[in-house]
Amino acid sequence: MKFSDILKLSIENLRRRKWRTVLTVLGVTIGTISVVLMLSLGFGLKETLNAELNAGGGINDITVSYNGSDEDMYLSDSRVEEFMDLEQITKASPKLSVAMKVTTGKWGTTTWIEGVSQEELEAIPLGQGTCPKEGEEFQIIAGNMIVLDFYDTNTFEYPYWDYNEIPPVDMMNDKIYCSMMNVESYDGVNPDSLYSKRKQLKIAGVVEGGPETYNAYCYSAYVEIETLKSYLEKEYRGKTIPEQPTDRNGNPYKEWIYPSVKLTVSDTALVEDTVTYFREMGYQVSSQQEWIEENNKVFDIVQLVLGGIGAVSLLVAAIGITNTITMSTYERRKEIGVMKVLGCDIENIGAMFVSEAGYIGFLGGAVGVVLSYLLSKVVNIVGASFMTEAIGVAGNLSMIPLWLPFVAVGFTILVGVVAGYFPARKATRISALAAIRND
């Protein structure tokens, strides 16, 4: 018997029982939609976050941090120069951060001030103001969410955290003062004595976004590192600069010592080896690449769980197919008997039912894939605000890769074939005598 004839007979039989076919196909459609949509959430999240991480560049960057225990490992200026001598390192930018107290009127808060390279400083997206040029006086770029942390210095109440009101501070236009922490001036009673005399702080710009919009730069203040260093040297002349270590005798080192250095590797392929190299030296190392990989691993698991949930409804659909084909074989006992008497091969009889089941799987899968595309669009429209609010990244929540529809339809055909296999095998065992007995 020709394969095309087997297919034709199966389709004819499905058409004969339109309602039942439609309902069974519907089951597969729902199953396909749930699997495809669930998987698409995983792909969407992964894709969007990776795109976000890659957009900030840094795929070739690694951050080397001091391990906190071994003096020999201090990340000093000379050590950073040594790193630069390594062939695969094209750039090294040390990090430095100090805490400072910021006040304006009765409002005050403590924030971290980070010293970064001029290049990095210029990469920060600004909402107001302009980026300071190299060699200019000490002025900072303020994170857009710093405003939320201001408290009333008289009552110690936080308008935002206590009353959900945004403090009436305008970083750009208000007169802002800052004072640096000074451990040596602390009298042990008055917390204010911990800080050096306040000075006016010049704010060059504020990071893009409102006071409640999260981004990578929203919580700290930024300044070019050399500017910060000379400012601190002036501020703390003859004293220990906060966060800078001292030797056994309590004297500061001659060189600057950084908590971490960001290194740029010449080739993405060398990142992994470089990470290992510094790790073996005894540093703590993190890289964007590892972080993306870790992220992806987490999302793979999330996706697996989501897909598994979706697969349950596909399993129910598969049982539906088995049920439909079983019914069909019972109804057609006599017909099967007649076919056997007339010399239809046993395998062909089985193939008829299996291809019926496979066809149901195909139809359900195809319709399911089409509907999944529509629903994916809906999810992305509805989920857009969720992405920005809950995850803080704008992008698609659901994404269907090009290959997924093909794999999905292939899989539903396979599900149909497997679901139809057992009833089909039973059908082949129906006796030819069923044709003759009148029951």
Partner: protein
């Protein structure tokens, strides 16, 4: 019994070729603790191109015998040989193949596929043989015309009379031009006029095309259309009657 068998063998001496050889065939059904001897030691030969009728009362074992000849049921004991092949030793898959290649089957209740029209029903055995759609169509049309159903090609079984349906059934059995055709009570559901019509078709087919035909009937009068009549009772052959001139009326028998 031996004597009856010899009666069968006698004819091969007259130059006819044996197509089916049946020897010492038993079929015993177990119903609870009871054993029903549906066939109780049957031996006979069927010659090529002959029309054989199997007659007997209800429950005598006619259908059982026919089913076994067609390989639809395995015998409990005994031998069935088609040509040189031992049917009693075949697995179902081989039996299906034998039927596809060499046999045709006509049912009492027609057993046409309800969703297929006359032409498609007739073409079905060709489809099982892997014949292409065009060729199938052509051959089905030809044979339906021969059966006088040229105007009913596109009719579904439910749109035809019993006689017409049975003619479609016969067309379906003949379309592959099989060596041997089996018919179990082919006129059992038809009135006497239509019965005559169907029997004439069967008789003509054997005469013209030289197929072999085995027909089961409970009606001794109808059996007279055959070349030979095997009388069966309680699973045993009681008599094999030769209708040399096919015009004799059956005599009163003592069974």
């Amino acid at each position: 019994m031996d004597q009856l068998k010899d009666q069968g063998k006698e004819q091969s001496a007259q130059g006819k070729k044996v197509l089916v050889e049946v020897e010492d065939l038993y079929k015993i059904y177990k119903v609870g603790d009871e054993r029903v001897r549906a066939l109780d030691g049957v031996s006979f030969d069927i010659y090529e191109g002959e029309f054989i009728a199997i007659v007997g009362t209800s429950g005598s074992g006619k259908s059982t015998l026919l089913n076994m000849l067609a390989g639809l049921e395995p015998p409990t004991k005994g031998m069935i040989k088609l040509g040189s092949k031992r049917m009693d030793r075949m697995k179902e898959k081989q039996l299906v193949r034998m039927r596809r290649k060499h046999m045709g089957f006509i049912f009492q209740s027609y057993n046409l596929i309800g969703t297929m029209d006359a032409k498609e029903n007739v073409a079905m055995p060709l489809m099982f043989r892997g014949v292409g759609a065009k060729e199938r169509d052509k051959r089905a049309k030809e044979i339906l015309k021969l059966m006088g159903l040229g105007k009913h090609m596109k009719h579904l079984p439910s749109q035809m009379s019993g006689g017409q349906q049975q003619r479609v059934g016969i067309a379906r059995a003949l379309v592959t031009n099989p060596k041997i055709i089996f018919a179990d009570e082919p006129t059992g559901n038809l009135d006497s006029g239509t019965t005559k019509e169907i029997l004439t078709i069967l008789r003509d087919t054997v005469n013209k095309k030289n197929n072999t035909l085995v027909m089961v009937t409970h009606d001794r009068n109808l059996a007279q259309v055959a070349d030979r009549v095997i009388h069966i009772k309680d699973g045993k052959i009681r008599k094999i009657e030769i209708n040399a001139n096919k015009k004799e009326i059956i005599e009163d028998e003592d069974y």
